[in-house]
Symmetry: C2
Subunit: 178 residues, 2 copies
Amino acid sequence: MSKKEALLKAAQLKVRSGGYNNFSFRELATAVGIKSASVHYHFPTKEDLGAELAHQYTNDFLNALGEPQLLNASGINPIDAYINQFRNALLEDKKMCLCGLLGAESDSLPEKVRNETKRFFEHNIEWLEKAHAVVAPESKAAAKKNAIKTIAMLEGAMLISKAVDNNDVFELAVTELG
Amino acid sequence: MSKKEALLKAAQLKVRSGGYNNFSFRELATAVGIKSASVHYHFPTKEDLGAELAHQYTNDFLNALGEPQLLNASGINPIDAYINQFRNALLEDKKMCLCGLLGAESDSLPEKVRNETKRFFEHNIEWLEKAHAVVAPESKAAAKKNAIKTIAMLEGAMLISKAVDNNDVFELAVTELG
DNA sequence: GTCTATAATTTGATAGAC
DNA sequence: GTCTATCAAATTATAGAC
């Protein structure tokens, strides 16, 4: 893993624990064994790092899923697969969704970071629209509404599970989603 | 309004925009016309301020609603009233729920603040359990599950509306909640 | 209750050597 | 790519006067 990749990985953990203001260049540098000044070689400013972090997170998240049509053709319910990806983030990483946290603090984010956070949700809603359409054919408007309801419930369930420190809350909230 | 009340009000706006790390004693002091050192007279540490902020927010939130049984007796659906309180926070204040944001960054919060944030959700889930029980009699387990689903959807819908900067998302997500 | 003054630390960022 | 050295600014917090 390159130093740049390691820096993004370290940053992801910090942001998913406490948001955009919860990491410093010095902390990341120490975590990967370089000096603070060297971080600026990879990311000119903190805003650049934050934007690249959210952008990569979005791509990784969607790439790990694959296309809903292909999942369905393989006998996998794409909505179940989507829920499982959120479940794993919560149970394995024991962390919030990166863009869930950034989305909540959207008002105070630097522009580039805010834009990348918005992009996460736009692309995820689009993915879920396709998923809903492929699982149970319905109107375009109904698919969009169901897509929004699905991701809203997942982000909310994650948030509250973290807040009360009890993952059962997540399971109770998402039981009837799939 | 006392200086202390004004400080909490200023802090609430900052935290609801960007989380616990998004305000400083100096900013709050300037906002209410005193000096940073004087803030420590009202709140010994930042953790104390954060905890009192979340505690007061929880009390104000529930007091504004009143008891679900009383609402129901007055011909008001308590779940609709609850949804409206979230809607107003988003449309009028144009801000996230304070404890929604704090809950998302729970892992990195000072202990007192984390505990008060947890208390917000425990009390709100309890309130919603009563509301569901009063609207449509059902098992205690079912009422609890519905309470969790309701607040998860509201927090998630709010979060995503902020992230994509479009309040229609909130309305789409909550249409079938009441 | 509020002030001045100040301490100790952390922060994002830059210049320039290697 | 990484370093040393450094900076200006911001942060939480305290001591003591008024």
